[in-house]
């Protein structure tokens, strides 16, 4: 029998059990009797408190390294989980101080129920609120003031559509939108580069843990995790050029309205890119808005002003505005016709004011007589290009449009880009259910009217393909990601540039034609006043809802192109009188900067 043989072992087991119980009892005596007062205090009011330190978002620099966006010191208000009874009173007081409905506060707390960390109630609170909370500390147990840098857009509206803005993540953002799973009250990028690069520039929040008594006095420091600031971005934007461009746009829009040339000219989109790389040097969309308004939570009044504007200030028309490219499309039609040998530069075509197959003609009904390619492009003759479309056929035309990047997103680092629309028979069938393609459609397509649509950015890229010697560069806004000490973390990679496969001879002929536009006899002859030879193309897009949109694309100087500018003025009518002068002013300042024009006396 085991129990007889090992009876001693059973006795030892019992002795061991008694020892274990004595140890447990001793531990309890230690906790409850010896350290009892300490734990009693903790249970009464000493609480663990975690205060979050929001990581500062990365800074934005222009391409010369000048700061565009930085952070100012600020605070957020958070509430640490307390006993049920305390909370009710605190919520009432807080609701009054923060001017925030109690229900909203409760909702925030409920959403954070599964975490022991404090619930953030309001971000970027004003100094007055901070003072009020400090004054009433005793009534507000568990209320924390967390360090939270405030986003600061140094030049307000400047380049707002590219830079974007930040704001508090909405309920939708957190539950199913772009910021799923982030804690309530987080400040996140809502638009522009702030949004697309949010993960990179956000950084990692830190915190410090403390033990505090009922009155909020710190009893013990438990540890600190320093925040890791977000990475900074070096942009391709040229701050001075951006300023010049915004000023030029605003002055021109005001002039167009006040002079009566275009009383409804309120919206515009202008973009400047470097044809050598695709770097976007400036980007303007009008109307605009001040991003700083959103940082603190926009007021109802300000929001109404922005939201009720029929010209939609929140949209970036450079990438989301789709316009018929009008006569600027003749660059593509011309390239295709020359490259495929459908016409020689010497061949003369007779413009009687109307094409002989279909009675479609020039805008003003003029007739230019016998003209060659150069003259047709410089004077933007429609009949000549109808004939080019006729000889090419729609498929060849669309093929070339694709090479120039039409009909697809450029992939620039911004949300909300439109892809434009290619004038294909399939697209026509989709829009006008089942209607077949006609020769008239091909005519319209060859001069950029009809169903053809392009964004201002696509127009700039098209012009850049010519300026850059037949190379397509993807446009981009972010050049480098920088570490906190300013060293380079990452040089952004972009889509590999590709050659259009258009001969230098064709490009030279197009260039000569576009230079003709900017010389006496061309549709933008005033460009001849600039100190260097320029290439340009005007365009006017039919607009069924009002006056025509004015379009203009240009690059210069033609011997070594440095800058391409594309401009659209909504309801500005002729491109040469509405959009052209803006582009002219931009180049004027560009050359003045280079010392080619004597600087004006400062008024």
């Amino acid at each position: 029998m085991l129990n007889k043989r090992y009876a001693r072992r059973l006795e030892v087991m019992l002795a061991a059990a008694v020892c274990i119980f004595l140890i447990l009892l001793g531990r309890m005596a230690y906790l409850q009797l010896y350290k009892g007062d300490y734990y009693g205090n903790q249970a009464d009011g000493n609480r663990l408190r975690r205060t979050k330190i929001t990581a500062p978002r990365g800074l934005f620099f222009d391409y010369k390294g000048q700061e565009l966006v930085n952070n100012l010191p600020g605070y957020a208000v958070a509430l640490q989980r307390q006993g049920q009874r305390d909370n009710e009173k605190v919520i009432g007081t807080l609701s009054e101080i923060l001017n925030m409905p109690e229900d909203q506060i409760r909702k925030r707390i409920a959403a954070n129920q599964n975490s022991y960390e404090p619930t953030r109630l309001k971000s970027n609170v004003s100094p007055e609120i901070v003072t009020k909370i400090e004054e009433r500390r005793l009534e507000l147990p568990g209320v924390l003031l967390e360090l939270q840098p405030i986003r600061n857009y140094l030049y307000k509206e400047l380049a707002v559509h590219a830079l974007g803005y930040v704001g508090e993540a909405s309920e939708y953002d957190i539950t199913e939108g772009s910021y799923k799973g982030m804690p309530g009250g987080s400040i996140v990028g809502k638009f522009g580069i702030e949004k697309t690069f949010d993960k990179v520039i956000r950084g990692i929040d830190g915190s410090f843990d403390e033990e505090v008594d009922v009155a909020g006095n710190v009893v013990k420091q438990l540890g600190q995790r320093d925040p890791i600031p977000g990475k900074s971005l070096q942009l391709t934007i040229d701050k001075e050029l951006q300023m010049v461009m915004e000023k030029a746009v605003d002055e021109q829009l005001a002039y167009l309205r006040s002079s009566g040339i275009a009383p409804n000219a309120r919206a515009a989109a202008i973009v400047a890119i470097d044809p050598r790389s695709g770097a976007v040097r400036a980007m303007v969309s009008r109307p605009a808005f001040n991003p700083n308004l959103f940082v603190n939570g926009i007021s109802e009044k300000d929001w109404q002003v922005i939201n009720n504007d029929p010209n939609y200030p929140m949209g970036n028309k450079v990438i989301s505005g789709e316009y018929p490219p009008g006569s600027t499309f003749k660059i593509i039609t011309g390239t295709a016709a020359l490259e495929l040998g459908k016409v020689t530069p010497e061949e003369l075509i007779f413009d009687s004011g109307q094409h002989w197959l279909i009675p479609m003609g020039n805008a003003g009904g003029e007739a230019l007589g016998w003209i060659n390619f150069q003259q047709a492009l410089s004077m933007s003759d429609n009949v000549y290009f109808y004939e080019m479309g006729n000889r090419l056929g729609i498929n060849n035309l669309v093929d070339f449009a694709r090479k120039f990047g039409m009909g697809r997103k450029t992939g620039i680092e911004l949300e909300g880009e439109a892809s434009g629309l290619l004038p294909t028979p399939e697209n026509k069938r989709k829009i006008f259910t089942g209607e077949d393609w006609t020769l008239g459609d091909t005519f319209n397509a060859s001069i950029g009217q009809g169903i053809d649509l392009a964004t201002p950015l696509q127009m700039a890229v098209m012009m850049s393909c010519i300026a850059g010697g037949g190379i397509y560069h993807q446009p981009y806004l972010v050049d480098k990601v920088l570490n906190n000490d300013g060293s380079v973390f990452e040089v952004r990679q972009h889509q590999e540039p590709y050659a259009l496969g258009v001969s230098q001879k064709t490009l030279e002929l197009i260039k000569q034609g576009l230079m003709g536009v900017a010389q006496p006899g061309g549709t933008a002859s005033y460009f001849a006043n600039l100190p260097k030879p320029m290439a340009a193309k005007t365009g006017t897009a039919e607009n069924p809802h009002g006056r025509d949109h004015g379009l203009f694309v240009a690059y210069g100087p033609t011997d070594a192109p440095e800058l391409v500018v594309a401009a659209v003025v909504e309801q500005g009518s002729f491109g040469s009188t509405s959009a052209g002068p803006i582009v002219y002013k931009v180049f004027e300042e560009w050359f003045r900067e280079e010392g080619l024009i004597p600087s004006q006396a400062v008024k």
Partner: protein, 368 residues
């Protein structure tokens, strides 16, 4: 009249201790789930625990009619059933805290690993009992070790570190009473310690964190260390006499999560104080004392093995659970026998206590 003789042999010490523990347990569950009961208007946990207590009592009384020795015959099917059960958890169970532990059967959410502990005791006792004559050298014990290893590894895989350690405690008790040399045990522990660094890599990240945080709870006061810190505050603040039933601030204000299951002892400490805890520990000591006494008086080796296994299991649970709430053992998710809320655990423990009574009733009456 056979029956009467058995009931005269009922171990009243054990019965009273267990009723005391279960009664205090239900009182504590009522307090710990008070805020839940107030918001839902229904004392769901208390009702459920009481209902199963009644069912379990009926089961125990019924089981006393049968001789525990009948279990020897069904040990092998039980062992197979156990393996299937554990595999079922792995594939069908739903998880909590990274571990798969629950199986849903109709309205019941059961924790098969609890029942698995009881089955382990019965099977291992039967297995050793059959081979007692041949147990001499260390190698004679290897089949028994292998036998225990299979369910052990399945539980480990779930991963349920707590239950697998309980298996080891059961095995340890039975080996000791079947004549396993203490020397061998020391060699094995030595080897285990040498293997520690390798075992560390097998643990899941959350288990590693529990051990790290066990060593220093303030590493993560809002995460893994939260339970232990809050539990210590609850117990410590109970002082000598406690804050009173339903009056524990830590427990009532939800500072202490899981307070009706694994951390129920902290509620006891806060509301009933050192005196309450002293009584509870005394009741557990009575259970252990009676368990070992029943082992000593058992009529046959099978009874001795069973009684030692059961006692070791109770002892281990009490040590690990209370040690955890007091911050001297890592958090492993082992419930407190007879007190923690949980029908699987309660049923298993009641049936095992019934088995102790059963062994006691059929003993030789030599000591009187």
């Amino acid at each position: 009249m056979q029956q009467n003789r058995y009931f005269r042999n009922l171990d009243w010490w054990l019965v009273i201790a267990i009723f005391g523990l279960v009664g205090i347990g239900i009182c504590l569950i009522a307090s710990a789930t008070h805020s839940f009961a107030v918001t839902t208007g229904k004392a769901w946990h208390v009702e459920r625990q009481s209902l199963f207590l009644a069912i379990d009592l009926a089961l125990v009384i019924f089981s006393l009619r049968f001789d525990y020795r009948l279990l020897k015959d069904i040990a092998t099917p039980l062992y197979v059933f156990n393996i299937i059960l554990l595999l079922a958890v792995m594939f069908l169970g739903h998880s909590q805290l990274g571990a798969q532990r629950w199986i849903q059967i109709g309205p019941l959410s059961i924790q098969p690993s609890e029942f698995s502990k009881a089955i382990m005791i019965v099977c291992l006792a039967a297995f050793l009992n059959k081979r007692l004559e041949t147990l001499d050298s260390f190698t004679d014990y290897l089949p028994a070790l292998a036998y225990a290893f299979v369910p052990f590894i399945l539980v480990m895989k779930q991963p349920d570190l707590g239950t697998s350690l309980v298996f080891m405690a059961i095995l340890l008790g039975m080996l000791l009473i079947s004549g396993f040399k203490v020397r061998w045990l020391m060699y094995m522990s030595g080897a285990l310690i040498a293997l520690m660094p390798a075992l560390w890599h097998i643990l899941k990240e959350y288990q590693k964190n529990r051990i790290r945080v066990f060593l220093d709870p303030e590493l993560d006061p809002f995460g893994a260390g939260y339970h232990v810190i809050q539990s210590k505050i609850a117990i410590g603040s109970g002082l000598l006499t406690g804050k009173g039933w339903f009056l524990g601030t830590q427990s009532q204000l939800n500072f202490l999560p899981e307070n009706h299951t694994d951390f129920i002892f902290a509620v006891a400490g806060e509301e009933f104080g050192f005196i309450g805890i002293f009584i509870i520990l005394l009741l557990y000591l009575i259970v252990i004392w009676r368990g070992l006494t029943i082992a000593l008086n058992a009529e046959d080796d099978f009874g001795t093995l069973l009684a030692v296994g059961i006692t070791f299991m109770f002892m281990f649970h009490v040590l690990v659970n209370i040690g955890m709430t007091a911050g001297i053992m890592p958090v492993t998710g082992v419930p407190l026998p007879f007190m923690s809320y949980g029908v699987s655990s309660l049923t298993t423990n009641m049936l095992l206590a019934g088995l102790l009574l059963n062994i006691n009733m059929r003993r030789q009456q030599l000591q009187f």
